[in-house]
Point group: D3
Chain length 118, copies 6
């Protein structure tokens, strides 16, 4: 296994997320398990393609200012082929809707994006 | 001018919004005027089409639970040709991200959508 | 059917909620339907009795400041036999956690409670 | 007593607020009463004058998007001699920090301000 | 004194909280001191037992997504004898009310719970 | 360049903020750049002095519970000559409006203030 220090931010995030989800599943009741199922389901291709849905999840997470959720959707936007300009235009909407209070999250979202694009 | 009682929810909303924006502009300083300009600018066609941007504005407004903002983007989603299924899939993401606290807004968003679709 | 003007706030709320939920179900996809199912499921008797769960739903709705959600749990707290003092102690926690910004919701929650207790 | 229809928005707000606070005090326990005391205390003249404190309360209420709280501080800003420009500059900060999601509250705050200034 | 590295998450949290509260008390005025008093008072046994009140504080903190507050109430829920199933059922309500945006807090709450239960 | 370990919290914050803003500017479109411009503009001296505006920004950031934003305005309050009592009175308003959920931010704001005042 790679050393933590040489892992990218995306790798560290995915690793820690997996480890913590194991603890969640150790305790989760049926409601929490169903919620997790629903949380995967809503981003699947439908009338709207998954790429658009990841952008919707990104902007929702951005205006609610949750770094972990922003990271998650940033990784998936990247995987789905979202371009730099598309990513930034989505964040610009989030910034105008959510205000300057979201600027620290803008900085961290773009740092992670920049790392993945390099 | 039409009687208020026979106007649709969208017409009432647009009418009141225009009237109140006049009061805003009577007092607005340069910062507020620039913010208004920015608020129009971010939804214009770019790398992402305006239709997608209206859906992003809708979901951002939905998870932040602002009925007037939801109404505004619902009207524009309708004008840009968003289909029933696309509209509902976007709201489903908003519902899962934002939780049951947003259900009252889901009800009112779909009531307005239903009126516009009839 | 009773005249709207002689209906209690709880009756009006339940009536409008039922009517709007019909519109939701006309458009809802599988995700939204499953979310509705989950939303009923979490308040059922379990290790914690439904009465405690309704108080948890009340305080969650209160600090998130959603009047319709507060109304819903206020009605159910009343039906489950929550006493005046229990109801007020739960709201006092909500007030301290959520701050004075929640005071308008405190006023409206207690107006409805007062009407149901009379 | 004046007819409701000829009362200003500020008068209606104050009247309903007083009536609902009576219901709150009918049920309030010691914690809620102490919270109410604290809520008056923090706006009193101190190292910062009450006028500045009302502006702080206004902007806090604005970014948290509570119309009743905004109304309350708008009335008190007016009573403390806040000028049009001071009021608008405070709201402009609230708008930039809180984002376009607060625009509906900006409209309603300025409508009430306009009514009081006329 | 124990090394930081061998302390549990609960011990680290309590230690840092105590140290920072000393700084708060160095600067606090009467209002802040009274608020601190009120914040202890609302969780004391009353018509509702402290155990239920800690669950109410937990769920309120959870839907408002404050990790430190969640940690505080998690420790107190554990001390008051809340069972695994009770803890999880309370969090499931928080998850449904507050949405997937709260999932990162669910993970961290259960990691701490798991550490305390081991 | 100074070692990270001997830098004050304010220095570390300013350094990281500058570095991340460079990444933002590498990707920013016109909307994001204009938003940044607006974000500087609203705090400039006007009818309200910059000192009051920094206090407004502080309280807005405090009730919205963003540590980075609180840090930013804490530094600027200090630079503009805000006194201990003024700083604390502003935070007391934020605490009463925003509730105990903001206490962790109160602790961290006063730790930074204490460091700058020493």
């Amino acid at each position: 296994m790679m050393e933590l220090s040489v892992m990218s931010e995306a790798e560290k995030f995915n690793k820690e997320r997996a480890m913590l989800n194991e603890i969640v599943m150790k305790y989760a009741d049926l409601s929490i398990k169903r919620f997790y199922g629903l949380d995967s389901q809503v981003y699947r291709d439908g009338a709207l393609p998954e790429k658009t849905k990841q952008l919707l999840g990104l902007v929702a997470s951005f205006v609610l200012r949750c770094d972990d959720c922003i990271r998650y959707h940033t990784i998936h936007c990247h995987e789905k082929g979202v371009s730099d300009r598309e990513f930034v235009e989505a964040l610009a909407i989030g910034l105008v809707v959510g205000g300057s209070i979201a600027i620290p999250h803008l900085r961290r979202a773009l740092r992670m994006w920049d790392e993945m694009r390099s």
